[in-house]
């Protein structure tokens, strides 16, 4: 299996070559260490407990060309504007094949001390900040994909909201994958820090344009929420059907902060989301929700970890899956309650709608509780559309396919309505309905 990592190791030499003077920075040593780590771990196989249900052999067998430097592309600003969420936003940062595309982006005014930009620019200006932020990512599990991401670190979004700043409009990060001539890979790194008493909303959206070649998107997003901060993070993945996506999200929550993370997964052949939060200060709250759709032979795997490391924290987790055809879903929800995390209140729920006899869901709660005064509940369900509900809709003239789509969307709606931006709710409703009516 390790042999398949070879093409990535070879590509690393190309990366180093493209770095010019930057390879002298301590940040590059971090890249090297990460590459060694990746090389030692190799790609996971189904013999690894964390990857038991997700066979990534098709990904490991594909040669992806690394896009080491920004390349010319044919996407016009008008086209970019028509892709993805088009509601109001404070800033819209567009990336093409892993690199910031300033010509397609719209950066609004930033208030005092707020930084919104791309990581490559920040590395040029102050690589130390980036290095520190990345080093703060705890390795909760041996994660070859996060290591691979760090090894190929180049670009992504960098957002820093200072103490007390409130950004009302969402910041929209749009990642476009375009592989017209050959398969490509993008290792994006998004670093987001929201200071004490500050507030921000981030929309992280992944799309594909043109070309039938598979793309491999391997992003890592880190969020640091300061004391009493509020961060809403909405992740929307609807890339092309032949692609691969391994997305890592990691949030750290300080005292009394709130992070609301909602993940919508609609696209690609294989998607793995590693979604983690560490509730590191007393009174923090984390909502971790998700909706995942798998049609055809798609596979969507959500591995989540809620790590309660401080007392009096709450977490609510609701993941809802819609599996059709030979689609396959995996949900693994790990909740850790550490010894000090007394009065933890944690609620996990994973519900699935199976629309065909050949769809599969593997659902696995994993509770590791080391404190004695805690409240933890979890539940998993599997269901089908109700015949009586379908009949009721049809008896009003609504055709079978539309009736099924309406009821399927209704199943996911519980999560959509947790979004605080009405325009984004409408966008997701349309996106989900378009997918469900096909």
């Amino acid at each position: 299996m390790h042999s398949t990592t070879e093409s990535f190791l070879k590509n690393f030499a190309l990366l180093e070559h493209s770095l010019n003077g930057e390879s002298e920075l301590p940040l590059h040593q971090l890249r090297r260490r990460s590459l060694e780590r990746f090389s030692a771990l190799g790609f996971p196989t189904t013999r690894d407990e964390d990857w038991r249900f997700t066979n990534i052999a098709p990904l490991a067998a594909t040669h992806f060309r690394p896009v080491l430097l920004p390349e010319p592309h044919s996407i016009t600003p008008a086209q970019a504007a028509a892709i993805g969420y088009a509601g109001q936003s404070a800033h819209r940062l567009v990336f093409v094949n892993g690199h910031f595309a300033p010509g397609l982006s719209q950066l609004g005014e930033v208030g005092n001390g707020v930084a919104v930009g791309n990581l490559a620019a920040v590395i040029k200006a102050d690589a130390g900040v980036v290095e520190q932020f990345i080093e703060s990512l705890p390795a909760t599990r041996p994660d070859p994909f996060a290591a691979l991401n760090t090894a190929f670190l180049r670009d992504g979004a960098f957002i820093s909201v200072p103490n007390g700043s409130i950004i009302q409009q969402p910041i929209h990060l749009l990642f476009i994958g375009a592989a017209p001539s050959e398969a490509t890979v993008a290792h994006l790194r998004n670093l987001i820090s929201v200071g004490a008493n500050a507030q921000a909303t981030i929309i992280e959206e992944y799309v594909s344009v043109g070309g039938g070649n598979p793309t491999f998107t391997n992003p890592v997003t880190q969020i640091a929420a300061g004391e009493n901060a509020t961060v809403n993070h909405y992740r929307i993945q609807h890339e092309q059907e032949s692609g691969f996506h391994v997305g890592t999200f990691h949030a750290t929550l300080e005292r009394a902060s709130t992070v609301n993370s909602i993940t919508f997964t609609l696209g690609s052949a294989i998607v793995r989301n590693n979604t983690n939060a560490v509730l590191g200060g007393p009174g923090a709250h984390c909502t971790m929700d998700g909706v995942y759709l798998a049609n055809g032979t798609q596979l969507v795997d959500n591995h989540t970890t809620l790590d309660h490391a401080a007392p009096n924290c709450t977490s609510h987790e609701l993941y809802k899956g819609v599996l059709n055809d030979r689609g396959r879903g995996v949900f693994s929800g790990r909740i850790i309650v550490r010894q000090d995390a007394q009065k933890t209140d944690s609620k996990q729920s994973n519900r699935n709608l199976l629309l065909s006899d050949t769809a599969i869901i593997d659902s696995k709660p994993q509770l590791e509780i080391f404190a004695d005064d805690v409240k933890c509940t979890h539940g998993a369900t599997i269901g089908q559309l109700s015949d009586e509900s379908l009949f009721y809709l049809r008896a009003r003239g609504i055709g079978l396919a539309q009736a099924r789509a309406i009821l399927t969307y209704a199943f996911a709606e519980e999560v959509v309505e947790h979004i605080a931006i009405p325009e984004l709710c409408d966008y997701l409703e349309a996106l989900l309905n378009t997918r469900l009516e096909h």
Binding site: S386, D387, E388, S389, F391, Y392, L393, R394, A395, R396, G397, I398, G399, L400, Q402, A403, I406, L407, Y409, A410, F411, A412, E413, E414
Partner: protein, 259 residues
């Protein structure tokens, strides 16, 4: 009568899970008429309503049902609705997460499209709905809620009649619309139904009790017993039933050889 009946049922037999429930129904409903079908529990009233709406749990084993001369039974439930059949459910289904406005608009436009009419846009649809709400004294809060979710029994029944008003069916079948309603709610629902009566459409009221018929006066009353209509008459038949109870009917049924 030269005009074509809206509904014509001939010797209709239907069973559920292999058990025959309807054992030869004959019924003709003309435009402008309101028919009441009464009968004791288990006589097949609701089965008849569900069969006409096209519920797949009920299997038609023989007989015919024609809607304005066309075979109704070969159509899917949605095609029947588009052709103008409306069933007000005895137990309206709660649809959490299904927005009432979205649902009604989808229904209205499915019917309009079938009739070759242009689909309504959001503004035109809202205008239509508001007008119907006025007629039936329904609050606009209903539109923002999920269909029937958390509604009281009365609210659900009223919502059925509201949907009926919006969809303007040719043939409305009201299945036990009076059950579970207090007298005030009953009056509101009956009032709504009366406002929707017209010379062009027809209604079939399925009911156990006579009291609904105090508010919606039928042209014809039928007594259904053990899967057959054993007696038909004018509105006074309902009063006789009220007076003598269904035992009187059962005796009559034995006289005519049913049961």
């Amino acid at each position: 009568m030269s005009q074509q009946p809206i509904l014509e049922i001939r010797d209709l037999h239907a069973s559920v899970e292999g058990k025959e429930i309807l054992k030869g129904i004959n019924l003709t409903v003309n435009p402008g008429e309101v028919h009441a079908i009464m009968g004791p529990n288990g006589s097949g009233k609701s089965t008849l309503a569900q069969v006409l709406a096209g519920h797949k749990a009920y299997e038609v084993t023989s007989g015919k049902a024609l809607l304005r001369g066309n075979d109704l039974l070969e159509l899917d439930p949605e095609e029947r609705a588009r052709e103008g059949v409306f069933l007000a459910f005895q137990y309206p289904v709660e649809l959490p997460g299904v927005n009432s406005t979205y649902f009604l608009k989808a229904a209205v436009n499915a019917v309009r499209k079938h009739r070759g009419e242009e689909e309504l846009d959001a503004a035109d649809f809202l205008a239509l709905v508001r007008q119907k709400m006025k007629v039936l004294d329904v609050g606009e809060a209903l539109l923002r809620r999920s269909v029937n979710e958390g509604f009281s029994g009365g609210e659900k029944k009223r919502n059925e009649i509201f949907q009926m008003a919006v969809l303007e069916p040719t043939l409305a079948i009201l299945d036990e619309t009076d059950s579970g309603l207090d007298i005030d709610a009953l009056r509101v629902v009956a009032d709504g139904v009366n406002k929707l009566r017209s010379p062009e459409n027809a209604m079939v009221l399925v009911t156990h009790y006579q009291r609904l018929l105090e508010y919606i006066v039928p042209d014809v009353v039928h007594v259904l017993y053990k899967g057959r209509i054993i007696k038909s008459g004018g509105k006074e038949l309902a009063l006789e039933l009220e007076e003598h109870g269904y035992d009187w009917v059962k005796e009559h049924a034995e006289e005519v050889g049913v049961g």
